[in-house]
Symmetry: C2
Subunit: 178 residues, 2 copies
DNA sequence: CCAAGATCGTTATGATCTATAACCAGTACA
DNA sequence: TGTACTGGTTATAGATCATAACGATCTTGG
């Protein structure tokens, strides 16, 4: 008997299909749609990359920021990574349970914790860092250095466009009907 | 008394901070990190944009694809949008409950449904489409037409890089330790 | 024709990430 | 001192995503 036909790979649209003729052609004009799909691919790959280290995208991000900001406090860390404080607690519990991070009472403020990366955590972070760098190169394959830099720049611009409901309040959201 | 200092806006890094000196500088070198933040901004904005229509990013995507592919079946729709079939069921229940989409038994296959957009659905989709287009322009403010096209191209390339565990299996994932 | 296998939609369930309210201990300040 | 605020926490809910398993139906090989 023949195998179950094709594993899953249906060519829905090629990378150079300039907003072409796929069944999702309309959505392909939306940055958010293309970005969601690209991000899905990235997240799947980075999580697979980090899995051998016992990390995920989220836990790696937290670990890396603490590593480079020793003595950081949870509130500030939450600000930096745009994570709500309550959600950060569980992540830190996890990292602390893995002996990668320690919470130490801040000497000047007995409410706060100072976050530090353990030796084990630093080593793991370093190894994971290299794996993630390789992952990045994989995902960016086909992009030249300039294109890659332009991509980062565009992403940061979009991020900043999001956090500025500044002057465009007038023409902002259309209210369809009451 | 003075107001509670500053609402929340801490300038963590400006868009043109070329992998600069922020507390998350290391992560800024990762495409996934920048993309996650950009996508968060996009998703928040597009959901706010679609809220007056009673839609979200996900439901809008489904509605738009059905609109442009009348008679589509659920399995195929799931393939197109990379949604698992079970998850699609609830989304379609929602859209059907809003009288935007109908499920009709396929004449040639009594298991399958043919998905169609109602008149109400088409009108809503058209209006939402325009709002989303404006949203897109908001988020892409500061990008020229070429940069914007390059962004789409890069995103599609990344997506396709993700779905190709082809020949690079050798140097792929590092196994840290048993 | 018919039995085995595959497909379609569905239910149930769990994991992950996110968002909010409320709380306690501790701090800041008027 | 007392009132308001902050830092970390708990509890809880929502949204998205992933998997196993099921009944109904189609397909196919013998």
């Amino acid at each position: 008997m023949t195998g179950p036909a094709d594993p899953v790979g249906v060519p829905l649209s090629s990378p150079d299909d300039e907003g072409g003729t796929g069944p999702d052609a309309i959505l392909r004009n939306n940055i958010g749609y293309d970005m969601k799909r690209a991000f899905n691919a990235i997240q799947a790959d980075v999580n697979a990359t980090l899995q051998p280290f016992g990390l995920r995208m989220l836990t790696y991000s937290v670990l890396a920021v603490i590593r480079d900001n020793n003595g950081l406090r949870q509130s500030r860390l939450a600000e930096i990574l745009l994570i709500e404080r309550p959600n950060l607690v569980l992540i830190l519990d996890e990292l602390e349970g893995l002996d990668l991070v320690t919470r130490t009472r801040a000497p000047d403020d007995r409410r706060a914790y100072e976050l530090t990366v353990t030796l084990k955590g630093r080593r793991l972070c370093d190894r994971a860092f290299r794996a993630v760098a390789e992952h990045d190169n994989r995902m960016a394959r086909g992009l030249g250095a300039e294109e890659r830099a332009a991509l980062h720049k565009a992403l940061r611009l979009i991020e900043s466009n999001g956090r500025s409901p500044d002057d465009s309040r007038d023409t902002r959201r259309e209210i369809p009907r009451p």
